[in-house]
């Protein structure tokens, strides 16, 4: 059983559309991070959220941490082909180790 459930697993959309990716758990996390990974590369950190209810914006990306710190969402507005990649959420339960979700493979078609 995966500690962090991401949905959807695959998403293929047209350029200009909006999308939301969800990351859910029954566990409470100290913090939650979102990463983007491209083929042949390691994950790159996009954002860290710490406080329940926190919302962070990074250009066209909006990240939200649930009030109970068990879930998070990533919303992309007006997606572009350059947004294509594997999006991973990762939680910190205690210490430093990251627990990752299975990932959402996003494809944005021109």
């Amino acid at each position: 059983t995966q500690l962090l459930e991401q949905s959807p697993q695959f998403l293929s959309i047209q350029e200009g559309e909006n999308l939301t990716v969800y990351c859910n758990s029954s566990s409470v996390f100290s913090s939650l991070q979102w990463y983007r990974q491209e083929p042949g590369e390691g994950p790159v950190l996009l954002v860290t959220v710490v406080t329940g209810g926190e919302v962070k914006k990074l250009k066209r990306l909006t990240f939200q941490f649930g009030d109970a710190r068990k879930d998070s969402s990533l919303h992309i507005t007006a997606a572009q082909p350059g947004d294509t990649g594997l999006y991973l959420c990762a939680g910190v339960l205690g210490g430093s180790r990251l627990t990752f979700g299975e990932g959402t493979q996003l494809t944005v078609n021109p």
């Binding site: 042949g40 390691g42 994950p43 950190l45 430093s96 990251l98 990752f100 493979q105």
Partner: protein, 116 residues
């Protein structure tokens, strides 16, 4: 370069062979992590070092997996008697501080291991 580097980038091994994967973290980074990423999945934690001390090895899947960081910088992940289920990308990450809930881990490009 200033980032985390890993070598080799690709490794093909016959079942039963031993392999050694190297990680060069960012200079001065205290913490070093190894993760295993199966095809189409998110990374899974293997082990964690703070300087030369291996503080957490709870993610190592069997006693065939061994990691070391003898001088607190370069780390090596060794897999003995490789099996087909060991085929995966092995990611190394480093972070500046001993750890915290907002710590940033910087990942290397990974080593893709294929066991035939």
């Amino acid at each position: 370069g200033a980032g985390v580097s890993q070598s080799p980038r690709y490794k093909v091994a016959k079942r039963g062979q031993d392999v050694a994967l190297r990680c060069d973290p960012i200079s001065g980074h205290v913490s070093l992590f190894w993760y295993q990423q199966a095809l189409g999945q998110g990374p899974e934690f293997l082990t964690y070092f703070q300087n030369e001390a291996q503080l957490d090895k709870s993610g190592l899947p069997s006693d065939r997996f061994f990691a070391e960081r003898p001088e607190g910088s370069v780390s090596t992940l060794k897999i003995q008697r490789t099996q087909q289920e060991d085929s995966a990308v092995y990611l190394c990450a480093s972070s500046l501080t001993p750890g915290g809930i907002t710590d940033t881990q910087y990942f290397g490009p990974g080593t893709r291991l294929t066991v035939l």
